[in-house]
């Protein structure tokens, strides 16, 4: 079992470095007037900074690039973690509950409504909330204005971006659908039916069987979540990694390639950690996969 986990870790690190190669190559292809190196030199320089964490300190004024990346990544990681937490709270139990109570039409209607609402793009939810906040409450839900508000509004403003990411772009619908299918499969298994017939509780077994499913759901959806986070950061003016990447690439003047490398490193690391957790959970939960 441990050899398998080690193999996965090696695989993850290999993916990390190959992702770095691809990103540094793409960055080197961006046309820039102020840089006068050949493309190959640029690729090599970018990859060097990616691996050795040797970031140039001058580009951000008083702060080193590390501090900037840290502060921006705190914002983004906060949003990612709260969205994951919210999906965990709402989508997964809901999906399980739907397949449990297949015959109730009320819940099926709610399911359809939720899936329809969640297929609205994140951008549109963000614009809508922005407008509602400004016109009804006379507040702008931006990060810099938090200090002037009372605690209730602070909580609301802090929870608004994760909420919009959760309910947009069809993520909740996908999660609910997958949970429903998998629990259907599991509830049709023989051993569960036997336990039901006997009148014993099946929660432990269903949960045990659902663990790898949850892991695979998150590892599928995490890259789309990160895509949604960029939109939310732009609309609500939260200065996180996605906003920083947008600003670094599209602004006039010299572009900040080191920041993009650092930010992409953080994002790729997040995705790979989730992937690794997923793999470890599948290996641990299914004894057939433990040994080769």
């Amino acid at each position: 079992m441990f050899t398998k986990i080690l193999k996965q870790i090696l695989l993850v690190s290999l993916l990390f470095f190959s992702a770095g190669i691809i990103i540094s190559a793409l960055l080197a292809l961006v046309p820039d007037i102020y840089v006068q190196d050949t493309i190959l030199n640029r690729v090599i320089n970018n990859f060097n900074t990616y691996i050795t964490f040797d970031y140039n300190d001058i580009q951000f004024g008083n702060f080193s690039l590390w501090e900037v990346i840290l502060s921006r990544s705190i914002v983004s990681l906060y949003i990612i973690s709260t969205t994951v937490f919210l999906i965990f709270l709402t989508g997964i139990p809901f999906g399980y509950y739907i397949s449990y109570k297949k015959h109730s039409s009320f819940i099926q209607i709610i399911n359809k409504i939720v899936c329809a609402l969640s297929s609205v793009p994140i951008l549109i939810w963000a614009l809508l909330f922005n407008y509602i906040f400004f016109s009804l409450f006379q507040k702008s839900p931006e990060y810099d204005t938090i200090n002037n508000e009372s605690t209730f509004w602070k909580y609301v403003i802090f929870l608004l971006p994760p909420f919009t990411v959760m309910i947009g772009d069809g993520i909740l619908a996908d999660v609910i659908r997958r949970m429903k299918e998998e629990t259907d499969k599991i509830l049709n298994e023989d051993y569960i039916k036997v336990l039901h017939a006997r009148g014993l509780s099946t929660n432990k077994h269903v949960f045990h069987a659902l663990l790898p499913v949850i892991g695979s759901v998150f590892s599928d959806k995490i890259s789309y979540l990160i895509g949604g986070i960029v939109v939310v950061e732009y609309v609500y003016n939260w200065k996180g990694l996605g906003w920083g990447i947008l600003n670094a690439i599209t602004r006039a003047g010299t572009k900040n390639y080191d920041f993009v490398l650092g930010a992409s490193m953080v994002l790729v690391a997040v995705i790979l950690i989730v992937y690794l957790i997923n793999e470890i959970i599948t290996i641990l939960s299914d004894p057939r996969l433990r040994d080769n």
Partner: protein, 542 residues
């Protein structure tokens, strides 16, 4: 027990009452001024590699100081760091007597060494920046001599008068560029990161979200500023900036977009103050193009743009239509000229007279020699700031009018870097939409002199006219104000006739400021020159 509590309380109350009296000064001290900008400020050294913008000049007006200050409206120079000056009788040199007992923000005294160092620094940075407009302003100086700790002499290349307005460059400290600091790679020692000047406000720090904090300088040589802290917020989107203004997050917006003025005025808490802007919008024609080198073609295209309509549609009529690069508030504005009216028939006649007719009835004119269609590529920068849509609409209307007279315009939006590269460096364009921003000296000569046609210079349209060159030389060589006025007037007349640009308009700038700020006096380009005089009404300080 009670004694231990009551007697100290009595003393606290007594001292508090004493301090109350001390606070009753003419205007109360204190308060914040948060203001918003759209554009990232960048490097905070005025002579650094990147181009300075008016955003950075707003900051520099608080932190740095100049030798003299030239007032645009009154056409006078006021002493700032130089107490007085003496022009030599043969107009070949000038000596400044500098102000004593002034200090930089870190305590070291200000001497003439700093002034000489600034001059050397600017000269060493010549030709290294993308648009070195400011660095060219010292070309007229041949040599700098330090006579004393507080006396300095500048010697010119040629005899000049009216030269004091040109000494309005920011003075930077010499002691921040010692080898020690540069070798240590200390970030705080780098002037682009932590600027140090002699001004009424000092740089406090820049936050991670790119807000810049500035606090008042208690050791200023002149009257101390009333407002204690100033903070610059960087907000990328213009509508969210106005939303934050209305909600009270920021209290001042330096340039409100014209379409948001009604919203700000309806909010009730804000005063909108108008001030002249030195920014002109224009279409620039490349004089090397086979069609555009003819004067009649350019005049026709000017006749065919309805500039009043554009002003009213997109800017609510708040501006003025121009016939030249000079704004009406400028002292040398030629009152006898007027912009050409909108007249499509004269435009068509002019094009027919120039020989460009439509021979094959496809509604596009061709040249009689080569048979090539009259098609021009119009490049303009795609907006990097969100919610800025006026340029695209203006250009589309222009393209429509050109179509009516038989010219096809191909619109090409470019990223800012490519736009600057293609227009200024490579000079590879037909028509360019351009915005010129002049500073307080309002020097239009570099745009039209035939010496300034190298890549990177301001005369990127390759406009060459001997009369204009002669007039420019006369302008710089003369002492007489009336003669200089006559030169600029005749330059405007020639430019009106030649139409190297189609000058569109100059838009009024409006600053929105909360009504608690009193005694607000604005200088047109630098904006914060009179910031020490502003104060907040007593009931709003907390």
């Amino acid at each position: 027990m009670f004694k231990r509590i009551i007697i100290p309380c009595f003393f606290y109350v007594f001292f508090y009452i004493l301090t109350l009296n001390a606070q009753e000064i003419e205007h109360p001290y204190g308060g914040d001024l948060p203001y918003g900008e759209n554009v990232d400020p960048g490097a905070l050294n005025p002579y650094d590699r990147l181009k300075p913008t008016d955003v950075t000049d707003h900051l520099f007006a608080m932190i740095y100081e100049r030798l003299v200050r030239y007032d645009f409206y009154e056409n006078k120079t006021y002493p700032v760091l130089a107490e007085s000056w003496n022009l030599s009788p043969d107009n070949t040199s000038i000596t400044f007597i500098l102000r004593q007992n002034t200090q930089w923000h870190d305590g070291t005294p200000f001497t003439s060494q700093d002034v000489k160092f600034t001059y050397d620094f600017i000269k060493s940075r010549r030709r290294q920046s993308v648009n070195y407009y400011k660095t060219k302003s010292i070309d007229f100086i041949k040599e700098v001599k330090i006579i004393d700790d507080y006396k300095i002499q500048f010697i010119f290349n040629e005899p000049e008068s009216e030269v004091t307005p040109r000494f309005d460059f920011w003075i930077i400290p010499k002691h921040r560029f010692t080898d020690d600091l540069l070798n240590k790679n200390d970030r705080k020692g780098n002037l682009s990161v932590f600027p140090i000047g002699t001004g009424p406000y000092k740089f406090h720090g820049q936050a991670l979200n790119k807000n810049i904090r500035i606090s008042v300088n208690n050791n200023y040589w002149n009257k101390k500023g009333h407002i204690k802290r100033v903070e610059m917020h960087h907000i990328a989107d213009r509508t969210s900036m106005i939303n934050r203004l209305i909600n009270g997050g920021i209290k001042l917006v330096i340039e409100t977009p014209p379409k948001e003025l009604t919203r700000v005025e309806n909010a009730g808490d804000y005063n909108t103050e108008a001030y002249t802007s030195f920014r002109i919008h224009a279409f620039a024609y490349n004089n090397k193009n086979e069609f555009l080198k003819y004067r009649k073609v350019r005049q026709a295209m000017t006749y065919a743009t309805n500039r009043i309509h554009l002003l009213n549609e997109w800017y609510n009529g708040k501006g003025e239509v121009l016939f030249g690069p000079v704004v009406s508030a400028h002292p040398y504005y030629n009152d006898n000229l007027a912009p050409r009216p909108f007249d499509i028939n004269t435009a068509k006649n002019l094009l027919d007279q120039a020989g460009f007719k439509d021979s094959n009835n496809d509604n596009v004119r061709e040249s009689p020699d080569t048979g090539k269609n009259m098609e021009f590529e119009l490049i303009y920068p795609s907006s990097t700031v969100a919610s800025e849509t006026e340029t695209q609409s203006v250009i589309e209307s222009f393209a429509n009018w050109m179509k009516d007279i038989g010219i096809i315009i191909i619109q090409k939006p470019l990223i800012m870097d490519k736009y600057l590269d293609q227009s200024f460096k490579n000079q590879d364009f037909d028509i360019v939409w351009i915005q010129w921003t002049f500073d307080n000296s309002y020097d239009i000569t570099s745009l039209f002199h035939s010496n300034e046609t190298e890549p990177g210079d301001d005369n990127f349209i390759n406009y060459k006219n001997d009369q204009v060159d002669a007039l420019i030389n006369e302008y710089f060589n003369s002492n007489d104000k009336e003669l200089r006025r006559a030169c600029i007037n005749s330059i405007q007349k020639i430019l009106n006739k030649d139409c190297p640009y189609t000058f569109l308009y100059n838009i009024d700038n409006y600053a929105s400021i909360h009504y608690s700020y009193q005694n607000v006096r604005i200088e047109p380009y630098y904006f914060f020159t009179f910031l020490p005089e502003w104060y907040i009404a007593e009931e709003y300080i907390w």
